[in-house]
Amino acid sequence: MGLMDRFKAQRELHAAVKTCGADPFGVKMDQILSATEALIEGRPTILCGSNNYLGFTFDADCIEAAKQTLDECGTGTTGSRIANGSYHDHKALEQDLADFYGKQHCMVFTTGYQANLGAISTLAGPNDFLIIDADSHASIYDACKLGSATVIRFKHNDPADLDRRLGRLANEPGNKIVVVEGIYSMLGDHAPLKEFVAVSKKHNAYILVDEAHSMGVMGATGQGVVEHDGVLDQVDFITGTFSKSMGAIGGFLVSNMEDFDLLRVACRPYMFTASLPPATVASVRKSLAKLRANPGLMAKLWANVDTLYDGVEAAGFSVGKQKGPVVAVHINDPALAARAWHALLQNGVYVNLALPPATPSGTALLRCSVSAAHSTEQLQHVVAILARIGRELGILGTPAHAVAAE
């Protein structure tokens, strides 16, 4: 058997998807015009599938901060902080984040993926238990594989199910760590954190929340679902990313855990990879400062969410149950979803195509995401194009699809 023969299923799936007329997993952006527009195949295209929730990728102050630091500190650190030391801004960003969350400690990682990989695989030891949401992000599943703890999965966003599964572990002496996300990246729903925290406390379990898609999005000051649900002080660990609302790249872990800094010499995804380039750190510090100075930015985001979510729902599409900046349009037939995705692209609208089995819903999704930088007109245009294509392809308003959907 050849090395690549194991990927037969992926090969077939990818080939099938490409019959829609383009490759959804190989889109080439010829030129980035702004936080919400790019040139694709020569067409100005509205970006409605990024995670650029606050539009910070093209913020003038963030760019200026990065440029200045680029001149002062160079392009990269060329090593990990353990081997090559920390730059001033690495430390300063950790302090900023600790302040932002009102926690004592923070560690910054090179990506959000690595933050989860490092935090989860290191905190839970061989005699411990990780109890994870069934719809967890790949970084959480991979962290479980990298670590040595026993892993139990509970039903998505279901505190009673978590309670039952923790109950079965009652006589196990190991530590238990519950892992959930704030907003879930595919369907855009968010965790009932109040209930999850209560169940975790009842069973003496720690709880870790990944706020990747909810930082800068939910809560009065943008801390995420921990703030929205009023449980910040009861959550043991928070991870997150700078690749979404912060508009750059990187990840973090904050906590009040005693002896936190031991993690720096125990956590392999922190120790054995190069630290963030200083210019990136500078732009993230600026993004965070701007969010803290003006949480009103989130009001613009949520007004835009209303335009897209309400518009798509009113057009007759089936959308994710909870309203938020991830708007998931369900289309039962994957081939039809791929055709709709391609038609959108040809009409200057870029969204994400997500296909089963990678989708939690079991259906294909046109995953749209909203930015505070979108204009109302852009989003109204997206709704209009979506509705037109939905009708043309028979996704909306024709009995034919209703039958096909059975």
């Binding site: 069934a134 892993v151 139990i152 999965r153 039903k155 599964r165 079965r168 572990l169």
Partner: protein
Amino acid sequence: MTAQAAQQNTTLAFDHVVAEIAVALQPFKKGEVAITATTDIAQDLNMDSLAVMDLLMELEDKFDVSIPLNMVPEIATVGQLAQTVIESKRGA
């Protein structure tokens, strides 16, 4: 109560567990081929890893046991899965 009945109260019979798993696997059954202890879950039933994880969750509830995801790489056949359930029950 006979000694044997008492024994069956605390341990699950292999055949019983296989039969229960076969019921849970009905949606994945290919044609009329019966699901037995030697059925290979990935190859014969074409189940992907997500479907296998969902099956474990269902069996955890059915038998009131914990079946860690760590076990997945060691489970190829329905019989091996049944054995895992039985051992989890004993450990519980």
